[in-house]
């Protein structure tokens, strides 16, 4: 079954020997959702990157398991979707090429064309699919990241500042995606916005020393 579980134990991450956060422990079962909140500089982005395995923790562990069996980091890549303003796709490729090439790197083969079409229509980029991403506006790039993150139907979806750059219609698309993901697997949202945090049932609040207050 889908029952993926994320178990975080006593997590800590330092930058320049100062902890950004420490002593973070929680467990999250699918279906389920978690909001990461805190002031600017509290460490939300750092935490979500550690959870995604993009950067390592200083101490502590992040473990994913399904029915008690741990999921290897290499297998996790097939289960994970990630969207954030600082995640960039390739400017020199068209939107569709980006999806195709990156899927091949992830899994060795391309997704079905219907899947690509469905996702690109979902984020309203189908008509611009042959244009280079470098010529996209900020909101169009953000939309494409959603298409990319959802292409392989991830069981774990992580969103950092999910609605930034998006217009009202884009936000509605994201809300639909969020609603679906919450039912289907794990959703983690790092946000500054209380209404976005309210999408989620659980919450980790990073109070720490609150970045800019230090």
């Amino acid at each position: 079954m889908n029952g993926i579980r994320l178990q975080v134990t006593d997590l800590r991450r330092d930058f320049n020997r100062r902890p950004v956060f420490q002593g973070i422990s929680f467990a999250l079962d699918a279906p389920g959702s978690l909001a990461v909140t805190g002031l600017n500089g509290a460490g939300k982005s750092t935490l979500i990157k550690v959870l995604a395995g993009a950067i390592g923790p200083t101490t502590g562990t992040v473990a994913y398991q399904r029915a008690g069996v741990p999921i290897e980091i290499d297998a996790l890549r097939h289960e994970l979707g990630f969207v954030s303003p600082y995640l960039n796709l390739y400017d020199e490729f068209s939107a569709e090429e980006n999806l195709r090439l990156l899927s091949r790197i992830r899994s060795g083969n391309e997704p079905a064309s219907v899947t690509i079409e469905r996702r690109m229509k979902q984020v309203n980029l189908w008509n611009r699919r042959h244009d280079d991403v470098g010529t996209f506006s900020s909101g169009m790039k953000q939309r494409l990241k959603y298409a990319f993150a959802l292409l392989h139907e991830p069981t774990v979806l992580m969103l950092d500042e999910p609605t930034s750059n998006l217009d009202a219609e884009g936000i509605a698309v994201v809300e639909a995606i969020v609603a679906e993901q919450k039912e289907r697997g794990i959703l983690i949202v790092a946000t500054n916005d209380e209404s976005e945090a309210a999408w989620c049932t659980a919450r980790v609040h990073l109070s720490g020393s609150g970045g800019n207050k230090r």
Partner: protein, 234 residues
């Protein structure tokens, strides 16, 4: 335009035939014999092709530069089309001039390449064109491509006078008119040409220039159409 087309074809055909068919004679009689130029002999015929092509190359480059400059003032993408069309033609002519010159040099001066100042300058021109097109293809948006390549063409054009005026005076060369040329024969007009050779020579010059103009208008029209088509597809 029709006149240009017809005239250039007529002139170049005339030059091709006259330049090759007219025999050489030690003491030329009348219009249908060329004098023998000592040291050049039969090879002198290349002057009808090599030199006009080299001139047209320079012309094409100047035109390209001029339209580049115009683009910077008007920002009308049509000027960029003209500029790049002329540059493309210039590049082809430049290769032709180098090849004809190089072959000539092999049979006249003994090796394909000697770093004579003129050879150096045409080599630089080749490099400039190569760089120009490499730059264009490395720029993503049409406007940036037009702008930056225009600037580059002008900057590169600024160095060309150094090759034409300064370099030949500083470095001994093999071309006529170079520093240390014993006969001191200057530009091509005094280049030991008989009057009938001059007729062929100038026909060739005009012919190649018209040929260039004809091709340029063709290319510009083609480029416009291409972009029109591209616009409609998007």
């Amino acid at each position: 335009m029709r006149i240009v087309k017809v005239l250039s074809i007529i002139l170049i055909t005339f030059v091709l035939i006259a330049g090759i068919a007219i025999p050489l004679a030690p003491a030329p009689q009348g219009l249908f014999e060329f004098p023998i130029i000592p040291g050049l002999e039969d090879k002198a015929r290349n002057i009808f092709y090599h030199v006009p092509i080299a001139w047209t190359t320079v012309l094409a480059f100047l035109v390209s530069m001029w339209y580049g400059y115009r683009y910077l003032r008007t920002r009308s993408i049509d000027d960029d089309l003209k500029s790049v069309s002329s540059a493309g033609l210039g590049f082809m002519l430049c290769i032709l001039a180098t090849v004809t010159g190089s072959l000539w040099a092999k049979f006249n001066w003994g090796s394909f390449w000697n770093w004579d100042p003129r050879e150096t300058s045409i080599f630089v021109l080749l490099l400039i064109y190569g760089a120009y097109f490499a730059l264009r293809s490395a720029l993503a948006s049409d406007e940036a491509r037009a702008r930056l390549s225009a600037v580059y063409a002008i900057i590169a054009g600024l160095t060309v006078p150094f090759f034409i005026f300064v370099l030949p005076r500083m470095v001994a060369g093999l071309h006529p008119g170079a520093k240390g040329d014993v006969d001191g024969s200057g530009p091509v007009l005094e280049f030991k040409m008989a009057p009938n050779m001059r007729v062929v020579f100038f026909s060739s010059l005009i012919g190649f220039t018209l040929f260039y103009i004809w091709l340029l208008t063709l290319r510009i029209r083609a480029a416009r159409l291409e972009h029109h088509v591209a616009d409609q597809h998007s």
